[in-house]
């Protein structure tokens, strides 16, 4: 007998992707009407895949989906929307050059004759905006509005389409803590109005704060459903990763020596004229890990691109061991002994369709060691690649395997193996462990510490507060394109304090900040 109180019921869901990866294996998932239900798990646990199927973006290989007691076949988002399901994606699904109102009515445009009735689109936007207390500017272009408002536009998009079941995919990942608090208020408001909310996250505190029940996933399987009140944070973390998360990284105290990287008074305006870096100066010294903490989008990405000469600064200088890097090209910078773990491994870090071996030699293939006359020395290449695969525990059938067939963690190990094995003097590690499994994360963090203790200078950029606070010897905080705080010692820092700096509530005096610049 169908339980009418169940809004969503997914039974025995299995999903195998065309590349052979089984993202979900016989998963059962059920959500009661009017509850806030957390779907938890590490990156790659299969949460997103499960939700994509619920929203009709993917179809299950096996299994059954029942919405409000009615078995459905969700072949496309259109079908899902018609069943009252709405999804707010982690990466916003908005058209930047269109206005907020145009984005909201896209696909259901009000018309006057054959033409769009834009005034009506604005009216609809305002109506829903007021009803749900989600403030947006209907006439602003989406590319001009802040992240928090973009998320509201996303939520409004779902509500305007009559969504009663809202899926939120890591909604707080891009928000400041005030914005998060505001979002939670809104979510509770929705719940009171009878909406059902599925909340994907891996932030334990948030989950405890806002959800009624939770489903925990691991390795493509469901680990069970729990009342939020009944489980402790430790329980959840054990269920998610199968053991207690080891966050502590053992490291000796840093003894920084000579300056390797010097960044002096760098300014940068992005293509839309927004000031992304405003007079940034700092140095990184041999033997230390300098961390950059901050909410994403506060100039970190621009800075990292500049350090590797992917984009030139408007003014200011960047030198590595006294040599200017701007305009010199990546091979010159690599020659200086700089290595770089990029934020986006599939765009910059690796060529997915190339073999592991080809990916491992991309920075050194021109070196005499790998060439015999005009030809490659294939033996030397095989040997180096096999050695790296072994040293960095890359799980694969052979070095000839395509990189895209590996798991996220193993792809990252390929990147790391290359970047760490070139005897680097300076390592720029941008989100080095984002979205990979615990084992690989630990491995990479240990390697990073090891290299710094052997004399490499490390600049670590990470959105993961735990990571940046645990790994860094000293730490700066970015906010609004400026350094707002510098801590020589990270061991005494509290999360609360960091939060205040990250959100721009507090900033140190110019003198305190200037300490990060060791001239």
């Amino acid at each position: 007998m169908a339980d009418t109180n169940i809004a969503v019921l997914m039974k025995g869901i299995t999903k195998v992707y065309p590349n052979g990866i089984a993202a979900n294996q016989s998963v059962d998932f059920s959500v009661n009407r009017g509850e806030i239900h957390a779907l938890m798990g590490e990156n790659g646990a299969g949460k997103s895949t499960l939700m994509k199927m619920l929203f009709g973006l993917e179809q299950p290989t096996e299994g059954e989906i029942i919405i409000n007691g009615e078995p459905v076949s969700l072949t496309s988002p259109t079908v899902a929307i018609s069943k009252g399901i709405g999804m707010v994606h982690q990466h916003f699904m908005l058209v930047p050059s269109l206005t907020v109102a145009e984005n909201i009515v896209l696909g259901m445009e009000p018309t006057k004759g054959a033409f769009i009735d834009y005034a009506e689109a604005v009216r609809i936007t305002k109506e829903f905006s007021e009803k749900y207390n989600l403030h947006v500017e209907p006439d602003a272009k989406v590319m001009d509005i802040p992240v928090g408002m973009k998320q509201k536009v996303e939520i409004l998009k779902a509500l305007v389409r009559g969504a009663k079941i809202l899926i939120l995919d890591e909604p707080t990942a891009v928000l400041t803590s005030q914005e998060t608090a505001e979002l939670f208020k809104e979510l509770i408001h929705f719940k009171e109005q009878g909406h059902t909310i599925i909340f994907i996250s891996h932030k334990l505190k948030e989950i405890k704060q806002i959800t009624d029940r939770m489903t925990i996933m691991r390795g493509g399987k469901s680990m069970g459903v729990f009342n939020t009140a009944d489980v402790s944070e430790q329980d959840i973390s054990r269920l998610m990763v199968g053991r207690d998360v080891v966050l502590k990284v053992e490291k000796e105290k840093a003894e920084p020596t000579d300056t390797v990287l010097k960044v002096e008074d760098v300014h940068y305006e992005n293509e839309y004229g927004k000031k992304m870096l405003n007079g940034v100066s700092f140095t990184v010294r041999k033997g230390e890990i300098l961390g950059i903490a901050g909410v994403e989008g506060n100039g970190q990405r621009e800075l990292v691109s500049m350090l590797f000469d992917m984009v030139p600064p408007d003014s200011g200088t960047i030198t590595v061991e006294g040599q200017t890097v701007t305009g010199k090209g990546q091979s010159f910078i690599r020659e200086l002994g700089v290595s770089h773990i990029p934020e986006d491994r599939m765009t910059y870090g690796a060529a997915g369709t190339a073999s592991i071996e080809e990916n491992l030699i991309s920075d050194r293939f021109e070196k005499p060691a790998f060439n015999k006359g005009l030809l490659f020395d294939m033996d030397a290449i095989h040997k180096t690649s096999d050695q790296l695969i072994q040293d960095y525990l890359i799980l694969c059938r052979s070095g000839k395997q395509q990189v895209k067939m590996l798991s996220g963690g193993n792809i990252q190990k390929v990147v790391v193996a290359r970047e760490f094995s070139c005897d680097p003097k300076l390592i720029i590690a941008d989100q080095p462990t984002r979205g990979i499994d615990v084992g690989a994360t630990e491995f990479i963090r240990k390697k990073l510490v090891e290299l710094s203790r052997n004399g490499a200078a490390v600049l670590l950029v990470s959105a993961d507060l735990n990571e940046v606070m645990e790994l860094s010897d000293s730490l700066m905080v970015f906010c609004g394109g400026e350094i707002v705080a510098y801590f020589e010692d990270t061991s005494t820092l509290s999360d609360e304090e960091m939060g205040e700096y990250m959100l721009g509530l507090k900033r140190q005096s110019p003198e305190e900040i200037r300490r990060v610049f060791h001239a």
């Binding site: 195998v16 065309p18 590349n19 052979g20 990866i21 089984a22 290989t61 590797f308 992917m310 090209g329 990546q330 091979s331 910078i333 690599r334 770089h340 990029p342 765009t347 910059y348 870090g349 690796a350 060529a351 997915g352 369709t353 190339a354 080809e358 030699i361 991309s362 920075d363 293939f365 021109e366 790998f370 060439n371 005009l374 030809l375 490659f376 294939m378 000839k400 395997q401």
Partner: protein, 363 residues
């Protein structure tokens, strides 16, 4: 990996069968003697040894353009000027063959080298426009085809034409510049050997040298290549220059091996054939001669069909387009592939389970 190869072969065969099926439908609609036409198309080319020589002859220019396209497409450069550079390379070789007297063999080599260099230089136009200004190499290379054609015809008409001849054509090449025939009493020249040698060289270049590696990495992920320190702009220029070099060489070899005068007043179409066979060969130089042989065989079949029946030889372009479309279609038969993959994944899971069970038992 092996499964993949097997799948690719099945898919290739299916594409070809589909194209032939389309051809068959056309033939049955338009021909009064459909079976004879089909016989000539498919079996015809194998009925006489002479036809084999003809097939090999026709292979020569398209092996060169095909190799050129391979090199450029592997770097993801959609340069389509193989057509124009082959034409112009032929013209340049002809000019050298007529006006620069030289000892035998050396004359041939100089003709080919100058033609290749000039064609390679022409390719600098789309290549540099791309790297210096970011202009689409596709549009500029297409324009280059027409520019080279008109320029070539102008040179032929106004500076190289032999007025004693009825039609517009150049003076006779000097004998020292003509590539000798390989098989007596045929037109099959040593050009085929040059073509095969170039195939080996290009394959070696692409898979065993740092330049080939750079070209492939730029094609597979340009951001990654740049980030790794590969000189992307230089590589993009290099691959197009090599593409031009190869098609220019093809023009020279074709003109000196097959003709005694320069006679082209239209683009001969070998550049586009080169694109087709590069697609058939999946941009792998090693497969180019096979793909070229196949195309050449189809061409011969179509010619025989036209000679002996009422079906025009241009049927070829329809067959060619259909094969081309299906070969390049990633999702063609993808359901079948998906089944293979899912089966593979399940087997692997089962294996792992069995292993896990064993370990458990041991513990």
């Amino acid at each position: 990996m092996r499964k993949n190869l097997k799948f690719e072969i099945i898919r290739g065969a299916a594409s070809i069968l589909l194209a032939l099926a389309v051809a068959m439908i056309f033939i049955f609609i338009i021909s009064d003697v459909p079976f004879e036409a089909l016989y000539n198309l498919i079996i015809g080319p194998f009925t006489k040894l002479r036809y084999l020589w003809l097939i090999l002859e026709r292979m020569i220019p398209i092996v060169f353009t095909g190799l050129g396209v391979c090199v450029m497409f592997q770097a993801n450069q959609f340069n389509l000027a193989g057509e124009g550079t082959l034409f112009f390379g032929g013209l340049v070789a002809a000019a050298v063959a007529i006006y620069l007297p030289m000892p035998p063999v050396l004359h041939i080599i100089v003709c080919i080298v100058i033609a290749s260099v000039v064609a390679a230089a022409a390719m600098l136009i789309p290549a540099l426009l791309k790297t210096k200004l970011g202009a689409s190499e596709m549009v500029s290379s297409l324009m280059l085809n027409y520019i080279l054609l008109q320029l070539g015809v102008y040179i032929l008409n106004w500076h190289m034409a032999d007025r004693t001849q009825g039609a517009t054509m150049s003076h006779l090449f000097q004998d020292t510049a003509r590539i000798p025939t390989l098989v007596p009493r045929t037109n099959l020249s040593w050009g085929i050997i040059i073509a095969l040698a170039m195939t080996a060289l290009v394959a070696l270049f692409m898979y065993r040298t740092k330049w080939g590696y750079a070209i492939r990495m730029v094609g597979q992920n340009q951001s990654f290549a740049k980030y790794s320190g590969i000189k992307v702009a230089g590589t993009i220029v290099l691959c197009q220059v090599i593409g031009g070099l190869l098609s220019g060489m093809g023009g020279a070899v074709e003109v000196l091996g097959y003709y005694d005068r320069f006679k082209w007043r239209q683009l001969p179409g070998y550049g586009w054939d080169g694109v087709t066979i590069a697609i058939l060969a999946k941009n792998n130089p090693v497969f180019i001669p096979f793909a070229a042989f196949f195309m050449s065989y189809l061409k011969q079949g179509c010619n025989l069909m036209q000679t002996y029946t009422d079906v025009p030889a241009e049927m070829l372009s329809i067959i060619q387009a259909v094969i081309f479309l299906f070969f390049a279609a990633e999702q063609f038969l993808s359901k079948y592939r998906q089944k293979l993959v899912v089966k593979g994944a399940k087997e692997e899971l089962a294996e792992k389970k069995a292993e896990g069970g064993q370990k458990g038992a041991e513990a």
